[in-house]
Amino acid sequence: MTEPERRPEPRLVGGLWCTDVLACLDDYVAGTLSPELAAQARAHLAGCDWCARFGGRYAATVRAVRERLGAEEAPPEVSRRILARLGRER
C-alpha cells in the first residue's frame, strides 16, 4: 500500500467491458449466465488476458474453499466433549 500501482484500463472485447465481465463472473463460473451473455463473456475472456487470468483465479478460489476447507473434519476431542455434554445435559 505504499506506492500507487499502474493498472491496465478496462477494455471492450467481445461486446463486453472488463467491468461487465467482473460483474458476471459469479454466474459465468456457476454456468448460470444466459446463452447470449455466456457467449459474449467467452469471447471477452478469449481476447482479454487480464480477465482470463483473473477469471481463472476466481474459479480456483471458489474451488479451493470447497475442496480444501470443506474437507476439514471436527477434531476428535471436540466431538468427544460434545457427545459427553449431550449425555449429561439433555
Binding site: 478496462p10 483465479r57 476466481y58 480456483a60 471436527a74
Partner: protein, 180 residues
Amino acid sequence: MLAAVAAGDTAACNELVRRHQGAVWRTCRALTASDQAAEDAMQETFLAACRGAAGWRGEGSVRAWLLGLARRQAARTWRRRKGEPVAPVPLHELGSLAGWGRMEDPEAFVEALQDRRRLWAAMDRLAPADREVIVLRDLEQLTGPEAAQALGIDLSALKSRLHRARLRLMAELQADLRHD
C-alpha cells in the same frame, strides 16, 4: 431421525452429531475464527438441536436447519466484538484489490490456495458477514434459497454478497502474498 431426536432418543441425537459434526464444526470455526469459540458454539448448536428437534418443521434439509442454528450461536460471539463498518466499495475497485490487472506471479496465488492454513487465515480476516456467506454457499454448498433463508436475506442480496465476499477473500490472499 429428527422425530426420534425430538422424542428424547439419545442414540438418535448422537447419530445427528456424528452425521453433521463436520459441517457444524467448519461453520462455527469459520464464523468465530477461533477454535475455542467454535467448540462452544458447536456444543450450543447440538444442545439446541437435540432439545429443539420438535421445532423443526420439516422444510428444507436437516443440514440447512443445523447450519442456521450454528450461525445464530456463532453470531453471539461476534456481537460482543466491535462491529466493523463496511463502506460500500465499487465492484471494479474490489476487483482491483482482488488482483485484476496484476502483473505479478500468478503461480504464487494458486499455491496459496493449496495451503489450507493460509486460506483459513485469509477467511479469518474477513468481516463476519462476508465469511458466513462463503461458508454457507461455497464451503457447505447450501443452495441459494437455503443460504438466503439461513441469513434472512433475499436471493439477489445473497448473490451480490457472495460475489463481493469472494473478491474480498481474493484480496486478502493477494495482500498476504505481498507480505512474503
